[in-house]
């Protein structure tokens, strides 16, 4: 994102490589001719750990099995590892996967895709024995509504203290970090499809004397950083809305003039929900 026309400091937005990989993995998995995504032992273990970590945070992360990505300076490159059906040339399927992944990543993130490397690790001669399954989906989907109680409590506390306005349009939080943090969280929650990516799930943090979502907000003299989880695509409009809402919410604070950094750290599996019947 560039500097706003008003001369305000720019809001930098970052999309984590796991998010890019998840979009690529899904696009690859639903490409005709692809039987399944393949992963290494290391990738499987990393994925299991990541899944467990985000479950604690109340997020069901979109799977990245079989995909990896590098992201830099608005550009992304990906590698997809797949098993394909033998009823069409594997080279054709690889080319289709490459096109599909590049299109999906650009459409979902706004990043320019500089390259997609497709690795075919298996050719399945008989689909009936392939154990084909649709893209991985969580058996038990954690609900983001879990955070609802906190939102209500937060809103009630705001009303009681007279500090809060409507979400994202705070009349002016004080300069205390707690107040700025609360204002930033309200601004984030005002954007449908975005959620603070806190490492702790609210119902498991009842003992905390503050909103655990505040762990997703970093405030220091260098600026403000917010870790976000997205539940819908495309990401650029969500980031634009969030950046504007956070700017507005912090306008009258010390962080109004400091750099803002918005990080899409996780993508909820629901963002990639498409009818499995679309798979051939």
């Amino acid at each position: 994102m560039g500097t706003a026309a008003s001369g305000r400091p720019a809001s930098e937005t970052v999309i984590a490589r796991e998010v890019v990989a998840a979009i690529g993995a899904h696009a690859g998995a639903v490409t005709p001719g692809v039987i399944r995504l393949e992963t290494s032992v290391g990738g499987l273990l990393t994925g299991l750990g990541r899944s467990a970590r985000y479950r604690i945070a109340g997020i069901t992360p979109a799977p990245v099995t079989g995909a990896s990505a590098t992201v830099s300076s608005g550009q992304a490159s990906l590698q997809i590892e797949i098993a394909v059906a033998a009823d069409r040339p594997a080279a054709e399927t690889a080319a289709a996967v490459q096109r599909s992944v590049a299109r999906a990543v650009t459409a979902g993130t706004g990043l320019r895709v500089t390259g997609v490397r497709v690795v075919i690790l298996d050719i399945v001669l008989d689909r009936r024995k392939a154990g084909r399954r649709p893209p991985e989906r969580p058996a038990e989907r954690a609900s983001w509504a879990d955070g609802g109680a906190w939102r209500e409590e937060l809103a009630a506390a705001d009303r009681a203290s007279g500090a809060g306005g409507s979400a994202g349009t705070s009349g002016g939080p004080g300069d205390s970090r707690a107040e700025v943090c609360a204002a930033v969280l309200r601004a984030v929650r005002s954007v449908p499809g975005l959620q603070p990516a806190s490492p702790v799930r609210p119902e498991r943090a009842r003992w905390m004397p503050w909103d655990p979502a505040g762990l997703a907000v970093g405030l220091d003299d260098g600026g403000l950083e917010v870790q976000l989880a997205a539940s819908r695509l495309p990401l650029p409009p969500l980031l634009d809305q969030a950046a504007a809402a956070i700017r507005q919410a912090t306008a009258r604070t010390a962080w109004g003039a400091r750099p803002h950094r918005l990080v899409i750290a996780a993508l909820d599996a629901g963002a990639l929900a498409v009818p499995v019947a679309a798979n051939p």
Partner: protein, 203 residues
Amino acid sequence: MAVSQTSEGYALPCGRALEALWEDLEAGTAGRPGSHEQDCPHCLTALSGLVALRDATRELTAAPVAVPPRLTGRIMAAVRAEVRRTRLLPLPAAGLEPGGEAVISEQAVAVVLRFAADGVDGVRARRCAVRPRDPGQAPDGMPGWVDVEMTLAIRYGISPGEAVLAAVRRAVLAAADARIGLRVARCDLLVEDLWSAPAPGED
């Protein structure tokens, strides 16, 4: 008087040891009416922190740990994929967008070619090695060509002559092209064994 808090625990400003407060909390006797900590701000602050810590610990230990579905199958699939990742062959770049690259496991190609050879009557394919041919030595100077070396077992009674081997070559070349998109520049076949079909009425 200097007190070593390292060896004797942490003393609150009121003089109460934090460990003693923890023990009282665990025993359920902390904060009883008339007790010191009921009116001591230091003890009350420490108690609130200890209660939070105890509750958090209990919640974490009580949280169920679900085993991911199909875990064993996923691990075995990952191990198999690890093996197939060792040798990769470049696929033709036709159809790929700029910056794109496609490669395929040699083992995956070998499975397809062996399956094709097995389709020839009286032939059982054994080992199959597939090597990429340098574009400079390819018939048309383009990538996407490979050399194949396959060992076979032939049913006893069938002449391992040109007709059978030519049929195997045709099957291998067709499978490489139709199922993979590779072109075979050279196909070396080695008959290394014979096998006999069971006679009629024999199990």
